[in-house]
């Protein structure tokens, strides 16, 4: 829990153009990506942004395609806000925050066109690959959205497609890699006072007056947006947030995914 006095301190320091931890408004905390963290998963990545920590595992399963897309594979994203990560998280079925987190990450990947779902077809109308992405939040120190999105992209880049023998998955043997045609990067921007900041830590999150996640792709286009939480943005603030997200998306892509 963050006390009112701490909240006021964070607001005041931001109003003077600084952040409590000394970062610039457009500066992320240190990002660390470890791919291949979980052996039994076909792809995985542990991502840290400052003290925030998210582990994503990808499991490849064989399943039936959706009737309207009989020759396309399926992407499923689920997020678990595990009770170890924050005193506010409780065990049980995913709540609205976990569902929103998973759905925004899903939208970013899906709409970016990164995955060629047609390539994941095994037998049209019968069997396709299902990419099951599970986001496991280990440590919530703010900005779970960007951490989850980066971890998901890293885990997908790490994903290998298992061999199929006698119509069964042969775990541990692979026929190839999952290809990504694009690197979607989510950038979350919050408003505190009249300032826009990237990568809020959990103390900053407690005083935000608006939060928006913008997902950009390689060519600088946008592929998904989600405004989240209570608090609105003027159109000008949104345009500014878009410029920030394009710039930050490029930086993260160039530094960690090239």
């Amino acid at each position: 829990m963050i006390t009112e006095i701490d909240k006021n301190y964070i607001r005041e320091i931001i109003a003077t153009g600084k952040r409590a931890d000394g970062r610039k408004f457009d500066q992320y905390r240190e990002i660390e990506i470890k791919k291949g963290y979980v052996k039994n998963a076909e792809g995985s990545a542990l991502v840290k942004i400052g003290e925030t920590e998210v582990l994503v595992g990808v499991k490849m399963e064989i399943g039936e395609p959706f009737p309207d897309t009989p020759d396309e594979g399926v992407l499923m994203v689920n997020a678990e806000l595990t009770p170890i990560a924050s005193p506010e998280f409780e065990s049980g079925p995913p709540n609205e925050n976990a569902i929103e987190l998973a759905r925004v990450v899903d939208r970013g990947v899906r709409e970016s066109g990164a995955i060629d779902f047609k390539k994941l077809c095994i037998a049209p109308g019968e069997k396709v690959w299902m990419i099951c992405v599970d986001i496991h939040v280990i440590n919530d120190s703010g900005n779970l959205m960007d951490a989850s999105s980066i971890a998901t992209v890293a885990a997908l880049l790490d994903t290998k497609i298992p061999k199929i023998e006698d119509e069964e998955i042969k775990r541990g043997e692979y026929s190839g890699k999952l290809e990504l045609k694009n690197i979607p990067i989510a950038c979350t921007i919050v408003k505190i006072g009249d300032r826009l900041l990237v990568d809020p830590d959990f103390e900053e999150e407690s005083v935000t007056e608006g939060k928006i996640t913008i997902v950009t792709i390689d060519d600088g286009s946008l592929c998904a947006i989600q405004k989240s939480g209570i608090g609105g943005f003027t159109p000008e603030e949104i345009y500014k947030a878009i410029d920030i997200s394009i710039e930050q998306g490029k930086k993260i892509r160039d530094k960690y995914f090239r």
Partner: protein
């Protein structure tokens, strides 16, 4: 300029119907329709907060549920909450929470329910519009109404209030919730690829649409007081 599948102009909304005061036992109620997308909403409260542990000593707790009637869609929509409806409920709740003077009712709960009766794209916009009307009708203190409509990109063109084939064939869908008096966007989602310039154009068009929606919401609210006045005179 190429015509849209239903003959509308690119910056034209579907026919709008907005009403208030339709549910007798609710504290406030509203209805909103864009063409063949319609939603009805009821507000109950402020009431004592259940469950108790969620009550906030500083402000009212806002409960909101977006739900689609099973017959509202082409294929039957399985009753009960889905991941989609939970996410939509969250973003609408946040948009409404931002305009409600929640500090006026510490510890209380305000329950808002929206039912989609007919679905032909923009159902979350219709639900948000109906709920804004219902809250104002219930007399809940608000800074303003939230007005909502969607914009999209269909065959490379930016269009207002996508419907029908545009929903399935369109490239981008952007629902917007806008508060005119503050010039602020309180609901914004997007899926699909767009350049920054296209997005700017889309948002401007969407805000234009929201301002029309807002007028219809205000008219619907004025209408109920008109009836009230004429009854007084008759007596």
């Amino acid at each position: 300029m190429s015509e849209r599948s239903d003959g509308r102009k690119f910056d034209e909304l579907r026919e709008i119907e907005a009403r208030a005061n339709l549910i007798k036992r609710a504290n406030g109620s509203g209805y909103f329709r864009f063409g063949s997308t319609s939603a009805i909403s009821a507000v109950y409260g402020p009431v004592e907060m259940h469950p108790r542990h969620l009550s906030d000593p500083r402000r009212a707790f806002i409960k909101f549920r977006y739900n689609m009637a099973p017959f509202s869609t082409k294929d039957r929509n399985r009753p009960g909450p889905s991941r989609r409806s939970i996410e939509i409920s969250k973003v609408i709740k946040e948009a409404l929470s931002a305009v409600i003077e929640r500090e006026e009712f510490p510890r209380a709960g305000i329950e808002i329910y929206a039912e989609v009766l007919e679905a032909d794209a923009s159902t979350r916009c219709a639900a948000l519009n109906a709920s804004s009307i219902a809250l104002a009708h219930a007399g809940i203190p608000m800074r303003d109404l939230v007005a909502s409509c969607s914009v999209g990109k269909v065959n490379g063109q930016i269009v207002l209030d996508i419907a029908g084939e545009e929903d399935t064939e369109g490239e981008v869908d952007i629902p917007i919730g806008y508060v005119p008096s503050e010039n602020k966007i309180h609901l914004l989602q997007m899926d699909g690829i767009m350049t920054k310039e296209e997005f700017k154009k889309a948002l401007e068009l969407g805000i234009k649409g929201c301002k029309i929606v807002y007028q219809k919401q205000v008219e619907a609210l004025k209408e109920i007081f008109k009836t009230f006045e004429s009854e007084e005179v008759n007596e």
